[in-house]
């Protein structure tokens, strides 16, 4: 499908939303102390808006479905109304309910204090109480509409009574709040339609009011109404614990597009404007492209192209993923790559083979695996039937290595076999602690912080009266990310090369130098650091990386939660928090100083190419593909390609081949930026001079200028080393 030529009027409306977003982003950065290290997020800073929470008697923390539901209902009703004058849609959210307005979480007696010593020992982020990391099935909502959803809650409340009394009270309150929020915006749009003198704005506000009126009384019937429905969901979902998942967006809204086109009430240009308005509303994660469950139909449609164009024209952070599979039509892929070459960033690429084959290994049919859409920073999920809790639980294997090295040296007569055995022992202890913590999560999270918004869009929770995290949906497979792979692999390899093979250092010399954080021993640090590292084709780190990956995967697979026997699934994603996760990690034998960042996900460290081997995207991609955890959860490849190197006719062809090759080799996801090193350096030096520059940081994209220096440095390092 050719790009749609936009009229000056529509282009100007989209540009107006872009410009407002840049201004709003600056306000956010100011509000959060000069940095905002995550998605741009679509919320608006309503500085005057305050909320008075009502906590359970005797507590200063909010928990429980009814209590949270009642507070959320009031919050939604009190939230300021917002309509951008150039937007087709109403609504904006005002910040995270949990982060910015109330103290919410596990009540004190449900906090697993007995696990804290192990968490601390291994630097674990155990995921207990983790929220929102599942994907909804928005078709449930689009078919029932908001009033229908409330009716459904009341129906099952009555049917199942007295079971789930607290749960249903909370769910009904949330739905009433969302309806109130919708109604408030309807009145606001009507008021604006009356007040404004501009004929186009008057008509647009009236149309928004009419659309909202329809949503108050029933399910959406038009493309615009469906998009408005989803925008309201985005605002509600983000408000409560920062939910950010949608699903396969093009297929979700295609029926409305086709019906309106057939009826002659929608043009492609209008659709792009509406989609841009939707993307302005929030950076929820969604997917375009892919295959039908039976594998016979490609899901790319004109709507897929319109979504891509809307994102490209709006040119603000967004979190769209394009699913690529073997045999997929490359036209959409090429369009996406052209956009990235032009603007520097765009969609990420979700790769079918590794995701699907890994999911099949978990014992699921391939038909289900094909339905797992990319709806998170790195993660995929089945819409509405799976609770995967990805991207919240981290096991920093660097701590296991440090404990192993200490134990090995303390026992005397060290060698690599003993070091490995100790590493494996500590890794097992950490994995078992995560599994035990997940039992705890399963038991306590639902009585504290149920997924009151997402439950409405899942198959099961409302029908069963059970929160999705505790059996409300059919599939529970809880992720744990093993991180610092290259840090540990390079540490093993550095000892092998410099201590065991070359005998340049004794074990004691190596250990005392590392323990002293390389004080007055820069030459030894560089000796250890500058071996051919993971990613280098001649590196001894690769066998270590694969051995560590295999051990981690084996231990996680063999350790479901001990009490409830819930499956735990290995992943390898560190998010961008490689500084945060390393802040308490002592120096390591790969030449890394105490508290310096760990390696990212399962990627090589920047600077791995050396000697006659120059860095190339394919070298990095190969290392990431080889070291995938392979169980259906993605470990992303971050590719930052110097645009100078891929200009010309062959550039897009080469990137197409790169994406397909990574897919064939088992890679699961690619986050791609294409700018020049000069551009990124200039923006790093003076970020405020580049307020429009959008970069894919890890799985999410953000304005580069809103990131902290450390976060910007990550991106710069990927370009320059």
């Amino acid at each position: 499908m050719e790009s749609v030529k936009l009229s000056e009027e529509v282009a100007a409306r989209i540009k107006a939303m872009h410009d407002t977003k840049v201004i709003e982003n600056r306000k956010k950065v100011e509000r959060f102390g000069g940095k905002y290290n995550t998605d741009d997020h679509g919320f608006i800073c309503f500085d005057d808006f305050k909320f008075e929470p009502e906590y359970p008697a005797g507590y200063d923390i909010m928990f429980g479905a009814r209590c949270i539901g009642e507070n959320l209902k009031r919050f939604f009703n009190e939230m300021p109304v917002y309509i951008h004058p150039s937007s087709a849609l109403a609504g904006a959210w005002a910040g995270f309910f949990n982060r910015d307005f109330v103290n919410i979480g596990l009540r004190p007696e449900d906090v697993p204090a007995h696990l804290h010593p192990t968490h601390e020992k291994y630097g674990l982020y155990p995921g207990i109480g983790g929220m929102n990391h599942l994907g909804p099935d928005m078709e449930i909502g689009l078919r029932l509409g908001y009033p229908g959803l409330l009716e459904k809650v009341r129906y099952y409340q009555k049917k199942n009574a007295p079971a789930g009394e607290d749960f249903y009270a909370g769910e009904a309150a949330v739905m009433e709040g969302i309806l109130a929020y919708t109604e408030n915006h309807m009145h606001y749009a009507s008021q604006l339609a009356k007040e404004t003198a501009d004929p186009w704005e008057k008509e647009n506000y009236a149309k928004i009011a009419e659309t909202l009126s329809g949503l108050i009384s029933g399910p959406p019937k038009t493309f615009r109404a469906a998009i408005q429905f989803l925008a309201i969901f985005q605002s509600a979902d983000r408000t409560y614990f920062g939910g950010g998942a949608l699903q396969q967006l093009d297929e979700l809204i295609r029926p409305y597009y086709e019906a309106d086109k057939k009826a002659g009430i929608l043009t492609d240009e209008e659709a792009i404007w509406m989609l841009a308005s939707f993307l302005y509303n929030d950076t929820h994660y969604s997917q375009v492209g892919g295959q039908s469950p039976d594998g016979t139909k490609e899901l790319t449609s004109p709507v897929s192209y319109l979504i891509l164009q809307a994102a490209h024209e709006l040119a603000i952070p967004h979190n769209l993923a394009l699913r690529v599979f073997e045999g997929s039509d490359d036209k959409l892929l090429r369009r996406a790559l052209e956009h990235i070459m032009e603007k520097g960033t765009g969609v990420c690429f979700s790769l079918a083979k590794g995701i699907e084959e890994g999911y099949v290994k978990q014992g699921h049919p391939i038909e289900l695996a094909r339905m797992r859409a990319n709806v998170g920073c790195n993660w995929v999920a089945l819409p509405g039937i799976e609770y995967p809790l990805q991207d919240v639980t981290r096991l920093n294997m660097g701590f296991c290595f440090v404990h192993a090295l200490n134990d090995t040296m303390a026992a005397g007569a060290p060698d690599l076999d003993k070091l490995w055995a100790n590493f494996s022992k500590h890794l097992q202890a950490a994995v078992e602690c995560i599994a035990e913590g997940y039992d705890w999560h399963y038991e306590v999270v639902s009585r504290n912080t149920p997924e009151l918004v997402l439950n409405l869009f899942c198959h099961g929770p409302i029908e069963r009266g059970v929160n999705c995290a505790s059996g409300g949906v059919d599939i529970l497979n809880l992720n744990v990310d093993g991180i610092a792979l290259a840090t540990v692999a390079d540490s093993f390899a550095a000892i092998e090369v410099r201590v065991v093979d070359e005998k340049k250092l004794t074990w004691d010399e190596m250990y005392s130098t590392v323990k002293n954080n390389f004080k007055d021993a820069e030459n030894i640090r560089l000796m250890l650091k500058n071996i051919p590292r993971f990613g280098h084709p001649e590196s001894k780190s690769l066998p270590w990386a694969l051995r560590i990956r295999d051990e981690f995967v084996r231990l996680v697979n063999e350790n479901p939660t001990p009490k409830h026997r819930i499956r735990v699934v290995p992943g390898m994603f560190s998010h961008g928090e490689i500084y945060e996760y390393a802040k308490n990690l002592p120096a390591t034998p790969n030449g890394r100083f105490d508290s310096d960042p760990i390696s990212h996900s399962n990627e090589p460290d920047p600077g791995f190419a050396s000697g006659v081997i120059s860095f190339s995207p394919s070298l990095k991609a190969t290392a990431v593909a080889l070291a995938q955890p392979g169980m259906g959860n993605s470990a992303p490849l971050h590719l930052d390609v110097d645009t100078n190197m891929i200009r010309g006719a062959g550039g897009i062809d080469a990137l197409v081949a790169l994406v397909h090759t990574h897919n064939q080799m088992g890679g699961t996801r690619i986050n791609l930026n294409c700018v020049t090193p000069e551009q990124i350096l200039a923006a790093h030096e003076n970020p405020d001079a580049f307020p429009d520059l959008v970069i894919r940081v890890t799985g999410y994209s953000a304005f580069f200028s809103s990131l902290s220096k450390d976060y910007r440095q990550q991106v710069v390092d990927r370009y320059l080393k």
Partner: protein
């Protein structure tokens, strides 16, 4: 077994032949182009580079030890054909998926023709497309013996006196070899570095000559400054390297129009 000196292996190149290429840069060159991007490759053996900002002053180099700070680097390494192929095959899936292959460059890779012949044979047996990037100042039979899938053939000047001034040889053999390759049906892409202040005035003459001898595949390469500073880095003595200015996009467009060959 033949052994070659290699100073760089760059995978995922998109500008050195069709598709994604892994480019192998051979040490040693028999020309001395005024604008050379890789002056460190001219000598038969790689000179040592010294990067002041990386030096930690440990004194290891003075005592004959290894420089772990990588302030003193000598990148050139010897490879056997099998050893080199082990590195090249890592990128095989990318090469095959893109219709790409391996490009042998330099320096002047043809100066190590025995090794190159063996490498081309190994690659061909594995179904990998091969290209040889050469300036062509070697006996013609060396070129035909190596026999890659295509030649990337560098032409820098036409007039013998200008040729001699710019690259150190008069270019007669280079042009003769090009004509023979075209005559004998080898696949040849002629590549012309376009350097304002050096060969710029020669370019119209080159274009005319190429038309006369039936060259159909021509690529114009805008001069860039990536090689600047390398003489100092590698402590290379010799003639003063003039500072050339890269051509503008507009100037390159005008050249393409003047060339009037199909643009790939």
């Amino acid at each position: 077994m033949a052994v070659a000196k290699i100073f760089n292996i760059q995978s995922f190149s998109t500008t050195d032949g069709p598709g994604i290429r892994t480019v192998v840069f051979f040490q040693g060159c028999n020309l001395s182009c005024a604008w050379c991007h890789n002056p460190e490759s001219r000598l038969p053996d790689a000179p040592e580079a010294f990067i002041q900002e990386k030096c930690i002053g440990c004194g290891a180099c003075g005592a004959g030890g290894e420089c772990y700070a990588q302030a003193r680097i000598k990148t050139c390494r010897e490879f056997t054909p099998d050893g080199l192929f082990r590195l090249l095959e890592i990128d095989l899936p990318y090469l095959k998926n893109s219709g790409g292959g391996v490009t042998f460059s330099g320096g002047e890779c043809m100066l190590q023709a025995d090794f190159l012949e063996e490498m081309v044979k190994i690659c061909s047996e594995k179904g990998i497309h091969t290209a040889v990037d050469t300036a062509g100042h070697v006996p013609y039979e060396w070129l035909t013996r190596v026999n890659p899938n295509m030649f990337l053939y560098d032409i820098k000047a036409l007039s013998p006196e200008v040729h001699k001034k710019l690259v150190g040889v008069d270019g007669v053999l280079i042009w003769e070899n090009l004509e023979k390759l075209l005559r004998d049906g080898f696949r040849v892409q002629v590549r012309i570095p376009c350097v304002p202040g050096a060969n710029w005035d020669e370019l119209p003459l080159i274009f005319e000559k190429l038309r006369d001898i039936g060259a159909a595949d021509v690529e114009l390469l805008a001069y860039h400054r990536l090689g600047e500073g390398k003489n100092e880095l590698y402590n290379l003595s010799g003639k003063e390297v003039p500072a050339f200015k890269p051509p503008t996009k507009k100037e390159m467009e005008e050249l393409w129009n003047l060339l009037s060959f199909p643009r790939k």
